[in-house]
């Protein structure tokens, strides 16, 4: 169907156009109305769910105070004491470890695909990296639990007994499941998204700028250093934020390798807990008073964190795309 193919009968129907126009408006209206109702309805239902969750968790916040709950270091359902701090700490720590591992690797992969490899090889490589994201969390957890943790335990022990003697943060104990193991698994899961966003960022470097560097006798590394990275700075921030947003939400894989210890561990090799994993672990056995509500409260905290981090990432990304469009 192209604009050029007006049928003769359509032209001859001109006198009836006023009737068609009315029907047209009604048809348009119907579509718009249905779309509006459905959209508003869907969003309203989701908003309702959020609100309901907050309402359910409210007694907990009332009891301990919002700040009190967030900074409370004790989690003891048996004594009806609930504090979110150990889980906040674990979420942030595992997220940071994951970023430290994943971001350099993702940036290098993005450079590989956009700057170094010819497109014919780069495309399949990009797809394989994206496939990492298709592996379900529970499968990562299974492999992590049975393969990764035993494999890295000697490494953990070595570090703990060498560097760890000087830096307690890197020290013993090293039972295996730990913040570090969780961070490592999360890193594998967020590499696809960080690499994908960074890839887009690098690919949007204007050709004119690249050629400017080359024409001045620059090497590939000069192009990256002078043009690709500086121009892509903002986009890179977006990629990191979005990666972090994904990291804090990982649940099942984390709960299988993090050690499930509701205390703030002293080193990265200590067993710990994250917001998501404690909810998954304790929810179905939460019989103590306020226990389910407290877990839902943790969920609300996680929700808030996810909205802030991902929202920021999306906003920064949009800002980058707009400036990239202008820069050409």
């Amino acid at each position: 169907m192209t604009a050029g193919k007006l049928s003769p009968s359509a032209i001859q129907d001109a006198p009836r156009r006023s009737m068609v126009r009315r029907r047209l408006r009604e048809g348009d209206l119907l579509l718009r109305l249905v779309a509006l109702v459905v959209t508003a309805g869907a969003l309203a239902v989701i908003a309702l769910m959020m609100f309901d969750s907050v309402r359910t968790a409210w007694p907990v916040f009332q009891n301990f105070g919002i700040i009190g709950f967030l900074t409370g270091q004790e989690w003891a359902p048996a004594f009806t004491v609930y504090g979110a701090w150990p889980f906040l700490y674990g979420t942030v720590l595992t997220g940071a470890i994951a970023l430290i591992i994943a971001v350099p690797i993702s940036v290098l992969i993005a450079l590989m695909v956009t700057e170094i490899l010819p497109p014919r090889i780069g495309q399949p490589v990009a797809i394989v990296v994206d496939l990492l994201a298709a592996v379900p969390s529970v499968v990562w957890g299974l492999w992590g639990l049975l393969v990764l943790v035993p494999v890295i335990r000697p490494f953990e022990r070595d570090v703990a007994h060498s560097l760890g003697q000087v830096i307690p943060f890197l020290g013993p104990p090293t039972p295996g499941p730990s913040y570090f193991a969780a961070g490592l698994i999360i890193a594998m899961m967020i590499i696809p998204i960080v690499a994908a966003v960074t890839r887009e960022v690098f690919a949007s470097t204007p050709r004119l700028q690249r050629e400017a560097v080359l024409a001045l006798g620059g090497t590939r590394w000069d192009v990256v250093r002078s043009v690709v990275l500086p121009i892509g700075r903002t986009g890179l921030v977006a990629a990191i934020l979005l990666g972090l947003g994904r990291a804090i939400g990982e649940t099942i894989a984390v709960t299988m390798v993090v050690g499930n210890n509701p205390l703030v561990g002293g080193s990265i090799f200590s067993p710990g807990y994250t917001l998501a994993s404690v909810i998954a672990n304790e929810f179905n056995e939460a019989t103590e008073p306020l226990h389910p509500e407290a877990l839902i409260a943790l969920g609300v905290v996680l929700l808030g964190l996810a909205i802030v981090v991902n929202g920021a990432g999306l906003i920064v990304r949009r800002r980058f795309e707009r400036s990239a469009g202008r820069g050409r």
Binding site: M50, M112, L131, W143, L303, N310
Partner: protein, 294 residues
């Protein structure tokens, strides 16, 4: 020649050549590093799980006691497909309509909706589980396959909206504008023209959404809960592959549970990959309007 070359051209210093090569080396290492976990997981699953899989594995339900050998994962496979199916039925029309809404109503409102959807796409799936728990499970008083489907539907929704919107945007302009010239109502336009043309893309979005939903565990833990028996009753708790893997993995000290988890994991990854690759292949082979479309 060599002497003049050095005098007249300024060769790249050894240090800079080393820098440039170093970057290539590091990037290659990083890329390989990313492949290693993928290969490791794939290899591990195949080596540990392949032996477990046989016809019985797919046609029998698991034993009541996880540590007992024998039985299969029939109820989990069935439950996964049942819940994913219902989730698709719920999410697909809503997702497409939201995409239409965004395409028709641009400006601030459309952008706001799009932002909300983007944030929804990034939400932790366990939070979605909590949502459905507080609204549905508590209200109904029990866990159910329906609640699980709803949770999966919420997870699938953003994926469908985003890919459908993308498809609409990729529609060739002659098609988009030609329908107006013909005096078609928007309604008819979408039904008869846009959606059929963008169908392969919409389908891809659905497949990718399904491949994601099928792998989710966290939202099901407190919505559909899990079930040791085969069930087609959506109002009862329902088993799903990820749940079965999870429970068996936590008991992996027992060899029987371990084997079951392996076989189930291999099955799950195969299903996820199937949908994922199918979706990608669909995108690659048919773009709207053909290659000359734009």
């Amino acid at each position: 020649m060599a002497v003049e070359y050095l005098a007249l051209l300024k060769p790249t210093s050894r240090a800079r050549r080393f820098q440039a090569n170093l970057i290539v080396f590091l990037a290659a290492v990083a890329t390989l590093l990313a492949f290693v976990p993928l290969a490791a997981v794939a290899g591990y699953l195949v080596s540990q799980g392949a032996g477990v899989i046989n016809l019985d594995f797919f046609t029998q339900d698991p034993p009541g006691d996880l540590s007992a050998t024998g039985g299969g994962i029939r109820n989990a496979i069935a439950g996964t497909f049942e819940m994913a199916g219902l989730a698709t039925v719920i999410a697909a029309p809503i997702g497409i309509l939201i995409a239409i809404f965004n395409a028709e109503v641009g400006g601030r409102i459309g952008a706001a909706v799009r932002f909300f959807i983007d944030v929804l796409a990034a939400l932790p799936s366990i939070v979605v589980g909590i949502f459905v728990y507080t609204l549905v499970v508590v209200a109904q008083g029990h866990f159910s396959g329906f609640a699980g489907s709803l949770a999966l539907a919420i997870i699938m929704l953003p994926v469908i909206v985003i890919s459908t919107e993308e498809m609409f945007r990729l529609l060739p302009r002659p098609i988009r504008e030609g329908t107006r010239a013909l005096g078609l109502t928007r309604w008819r336009t979408y039904l008869s023209v846009f959606i059929p043309t963008a169908l392969s893309g919409i389908f891809t979005g659905l497949l990718l959404a399904i491949s994601r939903a099928v792998g989710e565990t966290a939202p099901l833990i407190f919505t559909s809960l899990g079930n040791n028996f085969f069930s087609t009753d959506m109002s009862e708790p329902m088993q799903a592959l990820p749940l079965l893997i999870y429970r068996n993995a936590l008991n992996s000290a027992y060899p029987a549970a371990r084997d079951r988890a392996m076989g189930a994991a291999l099955t799950l990854v195969a299903i996820v990959l199937l949908f994922n690759l199918l979706g990608r292949w669909l995108v690659a082979s048919r773009r709207p309007g053909g290659r000359a479309g734009r």
